[in-house]
């Protein structure tokens, strides 16, 4: 509990102080990092704590963004817009989750991928909502008492949502529901034997993750004022997986770190060459071949928490006891 309060305090302080220390461009980029951070955290929840590897998480993000853009033609309140965005994402997660969660591993992955591609086709081929070109809006976050127009106020707004999301997800992970979910990931059969309804745990986690991804998508629409079918694309789905993977699975903050590393790297490389896609592909491959637990684990290792690092690796990657014993033996 003490550490939670400390973390929140640090996060609030960091979000508050950052704009005073950095250039407007950096603040703008960190705004994006925070949005993608919420998105990546939500995927990190089901991947790192639930063992559900989804290649369709961008569905919820895209739905959130489209909801805000489409509804902004009628409604201007940010509360209504974001709430509906979250609810629609949750509803889609519920329906697809019920079908997809029956399958495991690769099958789950391909089903989530197929559902997302279905949305991509609907949004890009239908005559509504701008078709393949996407749809723009001029909505500004309207809190009821004040309308936020400057980039800085947008940063604080998104910073606020980020901290709130982190807090809620942390609560979820530490709740009986969250620990049950981890139990399912680690040993599903034992959880079944203990009398847990495994499917409910997975579906609930999937819905929660979908809701937060919808929130991220909604905030993204406020930032970019635009929603396009590309939000459902495989590029987006793969990008968010790589963010989780860069940062490290099995932690909440790892994916955020991954989002930061990814976005800054992308911006840096894009200024030098057009071949970002090629470089990103090579990074994926290199990460798979050489990554051992993600950036956050690397930092923990550097700080010297070697023992907790080992434990985390064992948790997140499912290292067998034999392997752990072997590692111990070599040291």
């Amino acid at each position: 509990m003490k550490s939670t309060i400390l973390t929140i305090f640090l996060l609030v302080a960091a979000v508050f102080v950052l704009p005073f220390l950095m250039s407007p461009f950096l603040v703008y980029m960190i705004t994006e990092v925070l949005i993608m951070g919420i998105f990546a955290m939500s995927l990190g929840l089901i991947m790192g704590f639930g063992g559900l590897h989804s290649l369709g998480h961008s569905a919820f993000f895209g739905l959130g963004a489209y909801t805000v853009v489409v509804l902004s033609q009628m409604v201007s309140s940010i509360y209504v817009l974001l709430l509906v965005a979250i609810l629609i994402a949750c509803a889609f997660a519920f329906v697809t989750g019920l079908i997809a969660i029956r399958s495991k591993g690769i099958f789950f992955l391909m089903l989530t991928f197929a559902f997302t591609q279905m949305l991509y086709l609907i949004f890009s081929q239908s005559g509504y909502w701008g078709g393949a070109d996407g749809l723009g809006t001029s909505i500004k976050p309207n809190l009821g008492f004040v309308e936020l127009t400057s980039p800085l106020s947008l940063f604080y707004l998104i910073g606020g949502f980020f901290i709130l999301s982190y807090l809620l997800l942390r609560l979820f992970v530490n709740s009986p529901l969250g620990t049950g979910l981890q139990g399912v990931m680690e040993n599903e059969n034992r959880m079944i034997a203990l009398g847990y309804n495994v499917r409910n745990y997975k579906v609930i986690a999937y819905i929660v993750a979908g809701g937060f991804a919808g929130l991220a998508g909604g905030l993204y629409a406020f930032k970019t004022q635009f929603a396009s079918p590309d939000l459902f694309g495989v590029h987006m789905a793969a990008t968010v997986i790589i963010m989780v993977y860069i940062g490290g699975m099995g932690t909440l903050f790892g994916p955020v770190l991954g989002a930061g590393i990814y976005i800054f790297l992308q911006n840096y490389v894009s200024t030098m060459t057009d071949r970002w896609s090629l470089i990103m592909g090579l990074i994926f491959i290199a990460l798979v071949l050489f990554n051992r637990g993600g950036a956050l684990h690397l930092i923990q290792l550097l700080i010297g928490k070697v023992s907790s690092y080992k434990l985390n690796v064992a948790k997140s990657k499912g290292v067998s006891l034999n392997e752990l014993a072997k590692n111990k033996g070599t040291e």
């Binding site: 099958f107 391909m110 197929a114 279905m118 086709l121 994926f284």
Partner: protein, 286 residues
């Protein structure tokens, strides 16, 4: 009536191209439990390489063989160097093969640019065939025959040869096959490059019909994934049925209900998976 026959034939043509692509994906998964999302990139690479050969004055048939062989060699390198190191780790497989999609896609964009390209139909098959009042290109008929030929070849291979027997056993229990003294690594590599070769062949054959353009690999991949999900992973029969089904729905859907033809395919997939999660002919449990 002519209209009906022509459209069925068009659907079969597309279906056969998808079959060449999806069967490799399915067999590789069935045997190795490796999902190769870059399989669509093999298709694309096949058609681009064949285009390059034809463009430089090579004969279509020579280009077909050369492109297929080059992609098979590339498949061997990828399998040995990358895929073989990540057996059993699903996240790693996804990331690595998605990475390969981006790498191959960007390299083809780099070399061949972003314009729509197409391979000219070989002279030998440039004629059309009379179907009642209408005409049907001979080349498309040839593609259908090639699809049927490879389906027959796969059947023969699976049921009548020694290698097919090992592969069938491997789908059931690879460890046991290894324990019986067969070299699993060689079998894996062989099956993988065979699948890559089939995809490349599909790419070359599809070149004169579908053409090639950036991000095409995703379209092909999605269709192939749906096919293997409907048909069931691990069996070429499922891939064949699924591919024919999707090809024909695609051909008629585009005429009668253009905006939702893709949705019907997704609908069928969802229904099949709700009733039978492992697909129609699935030999691998979901």
């Amino acid at each position: 009536m002519d209209f009906f026959i022509i459209n069925t034939l068009s659907g079969l043509t597309y279906g056969m191209l998808l079959f060449l692509m999806a069967s490799g994906l399915s067999i590789v998964f069935g045997l190795m439990r490796v999902i190769n999302l870059a399989h669509g990139s093999f298709y694309l690479l096949g058609s681009y390489i064949a285009y390059a050969f034809v463009h430089n004055g090579f004969n279509f048939w020579l280009a077909l063989i050369l492109a297929t062989v080059i992609v098979m060699v590339l498949g061997l390198i990828i399998e040995r160097l990358l895929i073989s190191r990540i057996h059993g780790n699903e996240t790693a497989q996804i990331l690595l093969t998605v990475g390969l999609i981006f790498v191959i896609g960007d390299i083809t964009l780099w070399i061949w640019g972003g314009n729509f390209l197409s391979i000219p139909v070989p002279d030998l098959l440039s004629a059309t065939i009379q179907v009642g009042e209408s005409q049907f290109p001979a080349y498309r008929l040839f593609v259908i025959l090639m699809g049927v030929f490879f389906a027959a070849l796969l059947w023969f291979f699976e049921n009548k040869t020694h290698v097919g027997m090992i592969v069938r056993a491997g789908v059931d229990d690879m460890e046991m096959v290894g324990a019986l003294g067969f070299n699993i690594k060689v079998i894996f590599s062989a099956v993988f490059i065979f699948g890559a070769g089939l995809a490349a062949l599909g790419g070359v054959l599809g070149g004169p019909i579908l053409g090639m353009y950036p991000l095409m690999e995703f379209e092909i991949l999605i269709n192939a994934l749906i096919i293997v999900l409907i048909g069931g992973l691990g069996s070429w029969k499922g891939a064949f049925i699924g591919a024919v089904l999707i090809g024909i729905i695609d051909a008629f859907g585009k005429i009668y209900i253009p905006s939702v033809s893709m949705l019907i395919i997704f609908g069928i997939m969802v229904i099949v998976l709700v009733i039978k999660p492992s697909g129609l002919f699935g030999e691998v449990e979901a």
